[in-house]
Amino acid sequence: MREIVWSAAPQLWARVQSGSPLREEEEALYYKLWSDIKPVKYGSTILWTAALGLANLARYQVPRNLSHIVLRTECYVVNETAGAANRQARLAPPRGLAYWQYERVGGTPAQIVTDIFMPAPVILNAEEFLVFSGGNDAVLIGNFTAPAADTGWYIETVVYGYNCGSAITDRIGSNQAIAQITGNI
């Protein structure tokens, strides 16, 4: 959270780095920016064989009047087959593609936010910096191929983000990450 505050008000960071104490109005700004951040995490666990083709890996309804900044996604596969040697070991995300999109209430896709042909690891197991507006669902979509084994594999996904008001988002929203596919540059 502190890094977000420094990003939104780099002059505060520069002042602290120089060894000088923050002035009263700078302290007030720091406190206001800090108060404007609310950590949130969400995700899902789904059976891999039930997630072939397009699957919702994580969904969060961004509250109205606020923005949501996605900071990190974690996704791994877990084998729950009884007696398996690697049972409950966490493995890499499934083969396939992944992307973020907006959905309106009721599940209707409204807008794709990242490239739909992005390989899964770039989106699913990565630091991130995406800003979603309030009043819509931010949804992480996976587009996977079938697992090698037929049963017992689960895809577990966790997304970490911050709900932020305009005091933060207006200052740093333009720094959203852009992910580019190798070969499409």
Binding site: K32, K38, Q61, P63, R64, N65, V105, G106, G165
Partner: protein
């Protein structure tokens, strides 16, 4: 010491007490006469209906203190389960009163909980209710109703309506049908201004001078639960076990918050839910201090039309600074997946400390 020079004031509920703002304005007039303004909704029972009703202009300045509302919706899928015998004979549980019409239909509620209202005066056009999420608030947040402990509900601050200015009312329903109904504003007519013209500014007890009309009611609405749609209607659903965040719209000037009202105690109870399972925490996004370490059951935090305080006052009015928001963490600690709180709204009421 009262500023009014109106002879003996005998209050039926104790001494008459006006806010300093209202007293300061009224002291500039010689005569004060009670004022009652009935505004019908104009709703005709159509689906997703919206009407705009403008009150006629009044020849005198008026201070509006509160309102009485009447607004019935027809029973829908979420209304009481009613078992009828012999046409109009009804078996109820727990001694509920059920009003039936021919054929055994039940009225969904008459306290204005599911009829929505937006108000603005035609001079400033400043809306009383925040635009998000539905640009309106349940009528039950504006006034008390018949058969309840509090037939009148006071506004957080008296509203000054100048002579010749109309009040515009936007009535609407979502997914329910309503016919008729009305809101009755209650206040005082201010007659014979001293100096032959209405005051432009008034002096407050702390010595400051503020413009007349600079106190506008503020109603911030938060839908309870997850937003969804049904047949094109915006709905809120709060299922057992859910935990959801909600925020008020950022304020464009400082707001003094006084109380919270809601519209779902009766409907949730009728559906078999325990209203104590609906719990909240509150905080200010501009000033994060822990207001409550644990969640607070809804009846301890907000009023409802069924309670003696339809809008439950806070222990102390709170100043929400310009640009800041109230954050509401909602949890449904019920364990029955079949009991879902639907179309519940929470209305945070206060007064904007800026107007014209």
């Amino acid at each position: 010491m009262p500023l009014l020079n109106s002879g003996q004031i005998i209050g039926h509920y104790g001494e008459a007490r006006w806010t300093p703002y209202a007293e300061a304005i009224a002291s500039h007039y010689v005569n004060h006469v009670p004022f009652y303004l009935n505004v019908p909704t104009g709703l005709t029972g159509a689906a997703d209906e919206e009407t705009v009703v403008v009150s006629r202009p009044w020849k005198y300045d008026v201070l509006i203190f509160g309102a009485y509302v009447k607004g019935c919706i027809e029973g829908d899928d979420e209304a009481d389960m009613v078992i009828t015998e012999d046409s109009d004979q009804v078996i109820t549980e727990d001694g509920d009163d059920v009003i039936t019409e021919a054929g055994g239909g039940s009225i969904g509620g008459c306290d204005g909980q599911q009829i929505f209202l937006q108000v603005a005066d035609r001079r400033s056009l400043l809306p009383w209710v925040t635009a998000s999420p539905i640009n309106a608030a349940p009528m039950s947040a504006f006034g008390g109703s018949d058969g309840r402990a509090m037939p009148l509900l006071k506004l957080p601050e008296a509203f000054f309506l100048p002579a010749g200015v109309e009040l515009q009312h936007n009535f609407s329903v979502f997914g329910n049908l309503a016919t008729g109904g009305s809101i009755d504003w209650v206040g005082v007519q201010l007659i014979n201004p001293i100096g032959q013209q209405s005051p432009k500014e008034v002096e407050m007890p702390d010595g400051s001078t503020i413009p007349v009309g600079s106190r506008i009611p503020w109603f911030a609405v938060i839908g309870i639960g997850r937003e969804t749609t049904l047949s094109g209607d915006l709905r809120f659903r709060f299922a057992a076990g859910a935990r959801v965040l909600g925020y008020t719209q950022p304020v464009d000037c400082d707001v003094e918050i006084h109380d919270i009202s809601c519209n779902f105690f009766l409907s949730y109870d009728n559906d078999g839910g325990n209203i104590d399972d609906i719990q909240f925490t509150l905080s200010d996004t501009g000033n994060r201090r822990v207001w409550s370490q644990n969640t607070t059951p809804a009846p301890a935090l907000m009023g409802d039309t069924t309670k003696a305080y339809p809008a439950l006052p806070w222990p102390k009015p709170y100043i929400l600074k310009k640009g800041d928001q109230l954050e509401l963490t909602m949890t449904n600690q019920g364990d029955n997946a079949d009991i879902i709180l639907t179309n519940g709204y929470l209305i945070i009421r206060g007064v904007k400390l800026c107007g014209l």
